[in-house]
Amino acid sequence: MNSNDTSREHDLDKILQSAVPVPQPDPWLVRQTLNRLPDKSTRLFSIPERIAYLLTLILQIALWIVLFRSMPTGEDMIMNIMIYCMALSLVGLLWMGSIFSRALRTC
């Protein structure tokens, strides 16, 4: 682009800018716009998360029922069953903890 073109472009800049002057800021328009903003959904968990948590809860309860029904008593209680119980409790704590920590973060 040579200097003649640049000068012509500059002239066109001036002409068009004078044709459309800078409008004054409109605080009323800003206020009205902000008043019209809708509240966004404050849903804590998305639908896939809700489904996942529900399935986990059902599975957890089912496993507890199976475990208590098949649990031996007294001297028959062996180390494997105790480990199984602890693992199941730990898993329960982990997923409940993830829900509560998310809720706390959102609050």
Partner: protein, 175 residues
């Protein structure tokens, strides 16, 4: 005027925390240039206010879909451009041409110089797509790169169409 980084940071606050104060700052930043763009496009005063509000509402609602690949400024202009296009489409082409002349000429006739009035007439006679490029480049002083993002065209295409639009408006101004 906010820097690009400040604009992106405000946009991120809107997306992550629905921060209304951050959004208010963005609205204040873009309100005047957007209205000037709409006036340049030939949209009347009342409609330009409606379109500006509609643009900001869309921006707020879709804040979470903003990926940060372009600046928020470019994004807000793209929304406004689409809304203006829809507005012209709804009104119909024949109606638009006549109305645009009237709207542009009635901006502020009392203070306008003769060359400004001529320029408004010339601008109103240019086709909507070319006018969009002229207004964004010469009035809103945007770069070719940003215009390409707003109009979703290649930079080369923007340059060639802009050059053609300039020749066209010069012809109209000279005649």
């Amino acid at each position: 005027m906010l820097s690009k980084i400040e604009q992106v940071a405000l946009m991120a606050r809107c997306a992550a925390f629905d921060d209304r104060a951050a959004f208010a700052r963005l609205v204040e930043e873009y309100e005047v240039p957007l209205r000037r763009f709409l006036m340049g496009m030939g949209v009347d005063y009342e409609t330009s206010r409606d379109i500006v509000q509609e643009t900001f509402l869309k921006m707020w609602i879709n804040a979470r879909s903003f990926k940060g690949l372009s600046s928020p400024r470019t994004w807000v202009y793209r929304i406004a451009t689409n809304l203006v296009h829809d507005h012209f489409k709804d009104r119909g082409t024949e109606d638009t041409d006549l109305a645009q002349v009237t709207n542009l000429v009635s901006i502020d006739e009392s203070h306008a110089t003769e060359s400004a009035i001529d320029a408004r007439h010339a601008l109103s006679l240019v086709d909507e797509y070319d006018r969009r490029l002229l207004v964004l480049f010469h009035i809103n002083e945007m770069s070719i790169k940003d215009i390409a993002k707003i109009t979703e065209m290649q930079q080369g295409t923007v340059k060639s169409r802009l050059s053609r639009a300039r020749s066209l408006i010069r012809q109209k101004l000279e005649s």
